[in-house]
C-alpha cells in the first residue's frame, strides 16, 4: 500500500494548563477523504496548524508527505491547498489581482483551471474583495486553494456559516479532488451529515484526545444502538460490554455500544431483559455518545 500522506504520532500540545492535544496518533491514507469531527475547542484547528507546520510539535511527531512541515515548509506547503474557516484575503485587492498574486507562490498553478472555476463560481474578476459576500469569499478561497491541483486539500471548517449552495460547491470540490488522480482531502467539520456524505475515514477529537479513528464503514458497522426493556425497574444503568453511553431509567434503557454485533440472546438472558429495538447507530448518535464523557481511545485501524 501507499504510505500515508499525513502521519502523526503521539502529538501533544499544551497551552498553559490546558492540554489542547493529548497523545494524538493518526494516519491519513493517500487518496482518502479524511473527516475530522469534534465540538468547538476539541483541538481540530490546533491539529491542522501542526499539519501545516505553523506550530512545532511539542512532543511527538508530525510528517506530511514523509517530510517535517516545520523543517521543510516550502516542499510541504507547495503540495497543500488550504482553506480556513475565515479565509484571510486582502480586502483592498481585486479578484484578478489576488489570483495573480497568489499564482506567484505556486509553480504548478493551472490558469485554465482557475478560469474554469472562476466562471463556475460566478466571481467577477474586477470586484474588490472588500465587497464580496461571505459565500463569495469562501469560493475565492476555495479557488485559490485548488488552483495548483494540490496533492493534499486541507479544509478547516470550510462550510461553517455558509449557505447550502456554497456548501455544495465545497463538497463538489472535495469529490473532484479525490476522483482526480487520487489526491487526498483532510477536512474538519462539525456538520456530521457532510462528513458522512463524503468521507471514507473519520477521526473524532474530544478534549484533545482522539476517541475514535478508522474507516467510516468500520466505525458505523461496529457501533450499535440497543434498547432494552427489563423485567424489573433498575436504579443503576445496565452493564453491556463495549458500552459507550447508556441513557434511560426504570425498565427502559438505551445503550450505544462499540463491539462486534452482540447476539440478542446473550444480552437478553444475562440481563433479564428483552431487546425491544436494535440497529446501527447513526454517526450523530456515536458522536454524542463519545462527547458525553471522557473515554479511553478506541482504534479500529
Amino acid at each position: 500500500m501507499h504510505e500515508p500522506v499525513i502521519s502523526i504520532s503521539n502529538l501533544t500540545r499544551r497551552f498553559g494548563a490546558k492540554t489542547a492535544l493529548n497523545e494524538v496518533t493518526l494516519n491519513v491514507p493517500a487518496g482518502s477523504v479524511f473527516g475530522l469531527v469534534g465540538e468547538n475547542g476539541a483541538g481540530k484547528s490546533t491539529l491542522i496548524k501542526h499539519i501545516l507546520g505553523l506550530w512545532r510539535a511539542e512532543s511527538g511527531k508530525v510528517r506530511v508527505f514523509n517530510l517535517d512541515p516545520v523543517a521543510d515548509p516550502v516542499s510541504v506547503l507547495g503540495r497543500i491547498g488550504y482553506l480556513s474557516e475565515q479565509p484571510d484575503l486582502p480586502d483592498w485587492m481585486r479578484v484578478h489581482e489576488f489570483l495573480r498574486y497568489t499564482q506567484a507562490f505556486y509553480p504548478k498553478w493551472d490558469a485554465n483551471y482557475v478560469e474554469e472555476l472562476r466562471q463556475q463560481f460566478a466571481l467577477d474578476p474586477n470586484a474588490r474583495i472588500r465587497v464580496l459576500s461571505k459565500g463569495q469569499r469562501a469560493k475565492l478561497g476555495l479557488l485559490a486553494a485548488q488552483a495548483h491541483r494540490p496533492d493534499l486539500l486541507l479544509l478547516d471548517e470550510p462550510s461553517s456559516g455558509l449557505d447550502p449552495i456554497v456548501r455544495n460547491d465545497i463538497l463538489t470540490a472535495v469529490i473532484r479532488t479525490v476522483t482526480d488522480e487520487g489526491r487526498t482531502v483532510f477536512f474538519s467539520s462539525h456538520l456530521l451529515e457532510e462528513i458522512e456524505r463524503v468521507s471514507d475515514h473519520i477521526a473524532m477529537l474530544h478534549r484533545g484526545k482522539l476517541v475514535l479513528c478508522g474507516a467510516l464503514d468500520d466505525v458505523k458497522a461496529h457501533h450499535r444502538r440497543i434498547t432494552l426493556r427489563f423485567d424489573k425497574p433498575r436504579s443503576e444503568a445496565p452493564r453491556v460490554s463495549g458500552t459507550v453511553m447508556v441513557t434511560g431509567a426504570g425498565r427502559n434503557w438505551t445503550v450505544i455500544c462499540n463491539s462486534s454485533v452482540p447476539t440478542r440472546q446473550a444480552i437478553a438472558v444475562d440481563r433479564d431483559a428483552e431487546i425491544v429495538d436494535e440497529g446501527a447507530a447513526s454517526l450523530n448518535e456515536i458522536f454524542i455518545a463519545y462527547a458525553g464523557e471522557p473515554l479511553p481511545a478506541t482504534s479500529m485501524a
Binding site: 477523504v33 455544495n168 469529490i175 479525490v178 451529515e193 471514507d200 458497522a221 446501527a280 447513526s282 448518535e285
Partner: protein
C-alpha cells in the same frame, strides 16, 4: 431516474445506493442494456464519496445485476427481468401505508425501525436467515 441518499440515517450510503438502483431497475426506470452514470458523475450528483459509488457498483456486479466494462462504464445486464408491474403495484401499497403512518406523526426513523423490526421478526421465524447469514 431520481436517486436520493440520506446520510443521517443509520443505513450505510452504499447500501442506500444499491437499494435505490435496484428499485430503479425493477420498476423499469433504468432498462436492461442501459448505461449507469459514471462513478464520478454519480458521486458529484449525490455529493458522496466516489468509493461509495464504486462499492455499490461492485456489489451490484457480484449480484449479476450490472456489468462493469473496463473503460466503458456500468451497464444493466440483459438477464435482469424487470418486475416492473409487480413493483409498481407494491409501491402503491407502500405509499398508502406510509401516508397512514405519517398521519400518526411518526418520524422517518421510527417508521424505518418498525419496518426493519417487522422484517427481522419474519426472518427469524424462517429457518434460513437470508440477509445476515
Amino acid at each position: 431516474m431520481t436517486i436520493r441518499v440520506n446520510p443521517a440515517s443509520g443505513v450505510p450510503l452504499y447500501l442506500q445506493l444499491i437499494e435505490q438502483l435496484k428499485l430503479a431497475i425493477e420498476t423499469g426506470a433504468i432498462r436492461a442494456g442501459e448505461q449507469l452514470p459514471s462513478i464520478r458523475e454519480m458521486a458529484e450528483e449525490l455529493l458522496i464519496n466516489p468509493n461509495t459509488v464504486v462499492r455499490a457498483y461492485r456489489d451490484l456486479e457480484t449480484e449479476g445485476i450490472i456489468a462493469l466494462r473496463h473503460g466503458a462504464g456500468a451497464f444493466v445486464c440483459a438477464s435482469v427481468v424487470p418486475r416492473a408491474k409487480l413493483m409498481n403495484k407494491a409501491q402503491a401499497v407502500v405509499q398508502s401505508a406510509m401516508d397512514q403512518l405519517a398521519s400518526l406523526d411518526l418520524t422517518e426513523d421510527e417508521i424505518r425501525r418498525l419496518v426493519e423490526n417487522e422484517l427481522g421478526g419474519r426472518r427469524s421465524r424462517k429457518p434460513v436467515r437470508k440477509k445476515y447469514a
